[in-house]
């Protein structure tokens, strides 16, 4: 089963991504903050996390650090409105598996999610 966690403080974004991925037979969990994301991660054990960088409270980078420290093998794709290169570099250094910029190309995103799940299945 394909399981996905979408983390974004913008509920509308979570909603359409959820409907898009559910249409493609994913099970989708949603978190609107970094703190929620950590909880959901424990509960749902998703294969891939889509993680927004800019969020109030615990931001994407802190959340990423937390996720990777608990399970370095979990797949995380950073979603960014527009961030400085430094921030994106920091994410990649912290172990993010990719990043994608808003507005999102859903086709690109889906392919990337698929790829990450496949590579996770191979044990990378």
């Amino acid at each position: 089963m394909l399981k996905l966690l979408i983390v974004d403080d913008e509920t509308e974004i979570c909603e359409f991504l959820k409907s898009f991925f559910e249409e493609r037979n994913y099970t989708v969990a949603i978190a609107n903050s970094g703190e929620q994301a950590i909880e959901q991660l424990k509960k749902e054990k998703p294969q891939v996390v889509l993680l927004d960088i800019k969020m109030p409270g615990m931001d994407g980078i802190q959340t990423l650090r937390e996720i990777k420290s608990k399970n370095p093998k979990s797949k995380v794709i950073m979603v960014t409105a527009i961030e400085t290169r430094d921030k994106i570099e920091e994410c990649l250094r912290l172990g993010a598996d990719n990043y994608i910029t808003k507005p999102l190309s859903l086709e690109y995103l889906e392919n990337d999610v698929k790829e990450k799940i496949e590579s996770a299945a191979k044990g990378n």
Partner: protein, 505 residues
């Protein structure tokens, strides 16, 4: 010649005193024996000999006045120069004038002018006669340098040949080294209100004659006379430097404030705008991907596609703004200018054909290797082309050339159009962000282009007159483009591509 005059005068004096004595003894002593020629002769010679020294001095002065007219003229010129310099406030002009006049008139091999530089706390040569600029510009004396120290305390001209007699051998040796460096045979201090402003360093004379005390004294007087003028010029120079610095700081500040403000604005905008755009575009994409199931009519599909496309366009504006204010460390590749121009021309060719615009390309086939961010360079060409197409409006020509200027080691990109041109008052504002002359323009094209060009240490300028078309000239130093190659190798993370690659199509 002088000998002849000397002898004639001496003879005259002897003869006169002989006659005077003769008459004197005859009237007052009535003594015949005293009028013996031998005695009279001895007396008159005695007088002549005792007068000799004094007479000789006057003869010398007379002689000089009549026969050495030239040298008198020189002194006169130098005195006049000192007076004329009062009006000169430019330190370098003043120094040049002094050394050149000295060099020419006194027939010196070298002459140089040393001035105190307050900012660096050194004495430096600012002008010289008979020494190459590359040589003399290197001469900088610290304030505690032996020659400087001696000039300050001694406050009198230093003469090379007398240094050994006037100072202990160790100090003399050190001073001699400074004489060597300055290629001088005498150094005249320029002192104003007990402050050593600098010095006038005079080299050897072509005639290989040493300076006489009279000459040195005259030079010293000259230095005293110009000291207040030099002092003024130094003040003016300091003021000018301070002013320049202030202006530079001010313009840097304005530039950086403006940039930071725009950066902040853009970052804020990007975050605020990209989320709603993502929602709009995302929902439209969801609908589009469902089209097979739902079977929309063509109109609905077109509308959805337009929504996706236009949201991307809106996002591009903010992204562009940010992309170039962040810039560092983006990917570098070898730029193929020919392909790049062809690609860009292909992009605008449809619009150009509609408007009856002819495009002429002139690309050197043997351009040197240049490394840069291809996306950034595509941006440059696209911006310049779009501006040109929009300037021409209906029927005209656009000419693009990429050339290598080997002398300056520059790549030069020129884009000219036969369009409406830009009024002079607007030319200066072209590179300001959000400045546009078009109703639907955003005003970022040239701003962004300039940012990129500056990042490659290049320059960009616009030549235009209303009604006469416009030429944009971009110059990029080749060495900078080569260096990028090394930086490119430092990029190790294959995941990190340039930001603009992660966009919906």
């Amino acid at each position: 010649m002088k000998r002849v005059i000397d002898f004639s005068v001496l003879f005259l004096i002897t003869y006169l005193s002989y006659t005077v004595f003769d008459v004197f003894t005859f009237y007052f002593f009535h003594s015949e024996w005293l009028r013996e020629p031998a005695i009279l002769m001895s007396f008159s010679i005695l007088v002549a000999v005792s007068c000799y020294k004094m007479v000789d001095h006057y003869i010398f002065i007379l002689f000089k006045r009549f026969f050495f007219h030239h040298s008198e003229q020189n002194l006169f010129t130098l005195t006049k120069l000192a007076r004329d310099l009062t009006g000169v406030l430019d330190l370098h002009e003043l120094a040049e004038l002094v050394v050149n006049t000295f060099g020419d008139l006194v027939k010196l091999k070298t002459a140089s002018f040393m001035i105190f530089n307050q900012q660096e706390n050194v004495y430096e040569v600012v002008a010289a006669y008979g020494i190459q600029p590359a040589e003399y510009e290197k001469i900088k004396f610290a304030v505690d340098r032996p020659a400087i120290d001696t000039l300050r305390n001694y406050a009198k001209p230093l003469v090379r040949d007398q240094v050994n007699q006037s100072f202990p051998w160790k100090a003399a040796n050190q001073i001699m080294t400074d004489f060597e460096i300055l290629e001088a045979s005498c150094i005249i201090p320029i002192i104003h209100e007990d402050l050593l402003l600098g010095s006038l360093n005079l080299g050897q004379r072509y005639a290989a004659k040493a300076f006489r005390d009279v000459d040195i004294r005259f030079f010293h007087d000259f230095a005293k006379e110009i000291a207040p003028i030099v002092h003024n010029a130094i003040l003016v120079e300091d003021l000018r430097k301070n002013n320049e610095e202030l202006a530079q700081v001010q313009s840097d500040l304005i530039q950086s404030t403006r940039l930071t403000a725009i950066e902040q604005l853009a970052t804020g905008l990007a975050h605020e705008i990209h989320n709603p755009l993502t929602i709009i575009s995302g929902k439209a994409q969801v609908l589009l991907l469902k089209k097979d199931k739902k079977g929309y009519d063509q109109q609905v599909e077109d509308v959805l596609k337009t929504i996706v496309k236009q949201t991307k366009r809106a996002a591009d504006i903010t992204r562009k703004l940010l992309m170039f204010s962040q810039g560092k460390g983006s990917i570098r590749e070898k730029i193929n200018f020919e392909t790049m121009v062809n690609d860009t021309v292909a992009l605008v060719s449809y619009q150009a054909a509609l408007d009856d615009i002819r495009i002429v390309k002139q690309i050197d086939h043997h351009l040197p290797e240049y490394y840069g961010n291809p996306a950034a360079f595509r941006e440059i060409f696209l911006n310049l082309f779009l501006n040109a197409v929009q300037a021409v409006e209906k029927s005209g020509a656009i000419q693009i050339s990429v050339r290598y200027k080997s002398i300056d080691r520059l790549l030069e990109i020129r884009v000219s159009d036969t369009g409406i041109g830009i009024p002079q008052e607007d030319v200066n504002q072209l590179f300001n962000p959000f400045f546009t002359t078009r109703k639907e323009g955003v005003g970022l094209g040239l701003f962004v282009t300039q940012q990129i060009v500056h990042r490659y240490n290049g320059s960009i300028r616009v030549e235009s007159n209303s009604g006469e078309g416009t030429t944009v000239v971009v110059q990029l130093p080749i060495d900078e483009g080569r260096e990028q190659k090394n930086r490119q190798n430092q990029e190790t993370d294959p995941k990190l591509e340039s930001l603009e690659t992660r966009e919906p199509h």
